[in-house]
């Protein structure tokens, strides 16, 4: 099987000859170690947008300003209803590195959020109501042609409405999202509904895109999103999206790398196909074996935890072998080398030297053999 076939077969819960493992394009180093690992079976996953977005009657400008003693980039959106702005802080390296990250892998972060005052909701709702999504499949076609059988290209679509409000537009710092949700419930929900409606055509666009997997960079996490919020605002959106995708035979992948224990039963009931970036303990709170047993109809793309990488290759070896022992026979699994931190060459090589030999179905004896081959 090719790397692409392996990843896709596992993602569709089919038979696979070896455990698929991959590096996310935007977190991957480039160079001899990465090339060597790819030659030894590591695939690539690449998320690209399937659309362009136009906001009608909305002007946006960017300028550098000093705000509370710091240089930030202020983006202002002006609409007939008034204007809103956000302030972004950028570390050295941002914009000079792929995926807009700093040299230390940190994205620009917002010091002031788009929605600050209750009046801002109306302006932002206007922006949402006047947003148009237009199909643009070139980025996906191009990446598919480039990658060929080396990996998979996914269609990237935005976070679902409440996740976007929580993490980006209102923000969660100082509990702001919860406070807005308690104080201005009607405004929050009104905007949520407008966003949900505005995304409907995009689900159709994504479903018709030339990618087999549609990926949402959701950052779902059980501390911020409690079961009540999940049921009320997240589940319906996943259902709506998946309904459209499934009609076209496409898979829904949702990025969730935090602690998911409190949400595990609800996630089980959701129509999500791929739990992307599930982190085993110590970063997450759900062992992969438990996740596989409670999410019987789902495929797990495991995010290999950065916390283990910081301990060096020997720790990586031990953790990876333990992980394999916990998931025998290894169905419905894909391993992602990392979804956050940049991985050192020596850690990448160590993990590859284990994963390149994982023939499925996995048995205890096979894992013992891999362990012996390493010592």
């Amino acid at each position: 099987m090719t790397r692409r076939e392996r990843i896709m077969a596992a993602s569709r819960k089919g038979r696979v000859d070896r455990l698929p493992f991959l590096h996310c394009w935007r977190h991957s180093q480039i160079g001899w170690a990465e090339r060597e690992c790819r030659n030894r079976g590591m695939g690539i996953s690449w998320a690209r947008p399937c659309y362009i977005m136009k906001m009608h009657n909305v002007d946006s400008t960017e300028e550098q300003v000093v705000s509370t003693g710091e240089v930030v980039v202020r983006r202002t959106y002006s609409t007939p209803m008034g204007s809103v702005y956000l302030d972004e802080k950028r570390e050295p390296g941002v914009g000079q590195w792929h995926a807009q990250r700093s040299w230390k892998d940190v994205m620009p972060w917002q010091k002031k959020r788009l929605i600050q005052e209750p009046e801002d909701y109306e302006v932002v709702k206007y922006m949402v109501d006047n947003t148009e999504y237009i199909p643009d499949y070139f980025p996906i076609e191009q990446a598919k042609e480039w990658l060929g059988e080396d990996g998979v290209v996914m269609s990237w679509i935005p976070k679902t409405p409440m996740a976007l409000l929580m993490i980006e537009w209102i923000g969660s710092e100082e509990g702001r999202f919860y406070i807005h949700h308690a104080r201005y419930r009607d405004k929050v929900e009104g905007l949520y509904e407008a966003m949900s409606k505005s995304l409907e055509p995009l689900y159709e666009i994504a479903a018709r895109s030339p990618a087999d997997i549609i990926w949402i960079p959701e950052n779902l996490e059980g501390y911020l999103v409690n079961p009540r919020l999940f049921e009320k605002y997240f589940m319906p959106e996943y259902e709506k999206c998946a309904r459209v995708l499934h009609k076209h035979g496409k898979l829904l992948a949702v990025h969730m790398d935090g602690r998911l224990g409190v949400l595990k039963d609800l996630i089980a009931k959701s129509p999500i196909d791929i739990i992307e970036a599930l982190h085993p303990p110590p970063v997450g709170d759900l062992p992969i074996s438990e996740a596989l047993s409670i999410w019987k109809d789902k495929v797990i793309w495991v995010g290999y935890p950065g916390a283990v990488y910081t301990l060096g290759p020997e720790a990586v070896k031990k953790h990876a072998l333990d992980l394999l022992r916990s998931v025998v026979p290894g169905d419905r699994l894909v391993i992602e080398m990392s979804t956050e931190n940049l991985v050192s060459n020596e850690n990448l090589l160590m993990l590859t030297s284990i994963l390149e030999n994982v023939e499925l179905p996995l048995t205890e004896e096979k894992i013992d053999r891999i362990e012996r081959s390493l010592s």
């Binding site: 802080k89 570390e91 230390k104 940190v106 972060w109 010091k111 969660s172 710092e173 100082e174 509990g175 919860y178 406070i179 949700h181 308690a182 104080r183 501390y223 911020l224 409690n226 079961p227 009540r228 919020l229 409190v262 110590p282 970063v283 950065g306 916390a307 910081t310 931190n341």
Partner: protein, 216 residues
């Protein structure tokens, strides 16, 4: 006791996460001449404390904890003008911040809210706070404890920089330092010269309580 009914109303308002009710109860209590400090420590704080306990046992989520804290702040706005200076000095102070470069604040804010529920006065500086600002605030507020939070491996060393700056400013001996976050350890704390490290808010808050008890 006549004061009792006002205190109960304040507590109930917190428990019900009711902004309107807390303002009403606080105004009525102040109008009736209830001791403002009692309105906080025997009225709203016990409500917060129950919410804190429910959060710790998993019955309540972060949402309730945060909103209860916000409802209490709303009540404080009414009560604060009645609190005389000496009164506020008797409460134990804590300054808390997420260090520079790091914008994760959920853990830090939980700690801050639980401390408020335990009767601390908390100065929360928010996220991405440079060492120099922390030093200024410690100088100004003279807290018993400084709490620092960092979640990223690249920002953890900043906690050490803050402690070095405290030392340079001659403040280190005047304030206990507790650090927190999922990757901190006793060894790391020792290395940077912190007094305690905690990967768990409840344990960290207990430590803070012990410290102020010891200190009298």
């Amino acid at each position: 006791m006549a004061e009792e009914k006002y205190l109960v109303a304040l507590k109930e308002a917190i428990l019900n996460l009711d902004y309107g009710a807390v303002v009403k109860a606080a105004k009525e209590a102040m109008g009736a001449g209830v001791d403002p400090l009692r309105a906080v420590t025997d009225g709203m704080a016990p409500g917060m404390s129950i919410i804190g306990e429910k959060f710790e046992t998993g019955e309540y989520y972060l949402a309730e904890l945060v909103v209860a804290g916000d409802v209490m702040r709303e009540g404080m706005k009414v009560i604060n003008p009645y609190i005389k200076e000496e009164g506020s000095k008797t409460r134990k102070k804590m300054v808390i911040a997420t260090v520079e470069g790091d914008m994760h604040d959920i853990g830090k804010s939980i700690v801050a809210t639980l401390l408020i529920a335990r009767g601390f006065e908390v100065v929360d500086l928010g996220v991405d706070v440079p060492a120099a600002r922390i030093i200024d605030v410690v100088n100004e507020h003279k807290p018993a404890i400084l709490g620092l939070s960092a979640l990223l491996t690249v920002t953890m060393p900043k906690m050490g920089e803050v402690i070095a700056a405290l030392r340079a400013a001659g403040l280190r001996k005047k304030v206990k330092v507790i650090i927190g976050g999922p990757s901190v350890s006793a060894k790391f704390a020792e290395g940077i010269g912190a007094d305690h490290s905690s990967t768990n808010a409840v344990e960290g808050v207990e430590k803070c309580k012990d410290w102020v008890k010891e200190g009298g």
